[in-house]
């Protein structure tokens, strides 16, 4: 059975799904990822699905489960690169992937994770001075 590789980049685990996954492969990924989060102590997971031409309810549910498991292991998950046709289909299917954070591409996903960590660290001074060092939108 094929396996989806998990790459560690700094404090982030990057999963790029490049194959049409059998259901077992998706479940295996779910397990592998939980193991890797614990082993590496990473606090962020990016799942790149830009190569997937469909996401059905099984894959959708797997993604949601991965996000939930990661959360328990103190890691944030961002799903990136969903194709427009896939998104339109998911809406029609009635799958809204609750609890999953998404970004358009890996770069924006990494920014999102960085912001997330920064906000978590600042929890004590929630009302502190507004810091615009890392805007979500790059200034022209």
């Amino acid at each position: 059975m094929e396996r989806v590789p998990i790459l560690k980049i700094g404090d982030i685990l990057l999963v790029s799904i490049q194959i049409d996954m059998e259901d077992q492969v998706a479940l295996q990924l779910q397990e592998d990822l939980a193991d890797r989060i614990v082993a590496t102590g990473c606090h962020g997971v990016i799942i790149d699905i830009s190569a997937l031409d469909i996401v059905d309810s099984f894959v959708g549910r797997t993604l949601a489960t991965i996000a939930a498991i990661s959360k328990v292991l103190d890691a944030d998950t961002v799903v990136v690169g969903m194709r427009p046709a896939v998104a339109i289909t998911l809406v029609e299917l009635g799958l809204s992937l609750p609890g999953i954070r998404t970004a358009l591409n890996v770069e924006l996903g990494m920014e999102m994770l960085a912001r997330e960590r920064a906000t978590d660290g600042e929890d004590d001074d929630e009302d502190g001075v507004e810091d615009t060092e890392t805007p979500a939108v790059p200034t022209p």
Partner: protein, 280 residues
Amino acid sequence: MTLNADEAARFAALLEENQDALVSAWTDRVTTSLRGRLSHAELQRQTSELRRGFQQALAGTAQGISDAAAAELRAQLSELSASRARQGFSATETAVSVFAFKEAVLATLDSSGRNDATTLRDYVAFSSFVDDAALFTFDSYVRVREELIADQAEQLLELSTPVVKLWEGVVAVPLVGTLDSARAQVVMERLLQTLVDTGSPYAIIDITGVPAVDTQVAQHILKTVVAARLMGADCIISGIRPQIAQTIVALGIEFGDIATKASLADALRYVLAQTGKKGR
């Protein structure tokens, strides 16, 4: 009734001899009928060219407007109707420009005191020649208008779905005109693709130019917003006019937590404020 060779020749001579008087009388009539929407000088140029066209056609013994000798004249008439059609003149106004020639010729015949039976017969034959010319003008006017309409329909389709980059990371779709299901689908797919291509996490859907929103169109917009969210982008809907807001509520369409703003400017301001907040 067609012109015979003699009649044609006699009229060719008449048009040549009295050219100044004819052109001036013709121009005056056309100027009046178009109520000053084209300058006298320009009309004078047109009528004098048309007179030459008629004269040459008749001198070449054209018996009807479809004769080979009248080819030049036909080209002139097509050009006239095309320019009139583009300038927005009505079909009647265009045809009258040609019909007026008959009156000018009649006035010339009167003033030269030729009112015998031969002249009358000549005139009737000539008159029918001009009628044909006017009908030809009418036809080509209609053809040009049809081409214009076809062109515009095509342009409208091209124009109908622009997705513009408004700011770094912000794209906008100004929707204009009636949205049917098929078009809404095309617009929405293009919008989502643009989000991916430009890596823009914000999209503003501006519906200022949409005259009416029915349940189906609203559904399409809502689905697009949800799809964009799944992809990791936020949509803001702007330009909701009062009547449309009433329709939306009356139809019981739920916009839920989707941000709606009165104007495109408000929407952009909102997005910039959002990105400022996220940046902390």
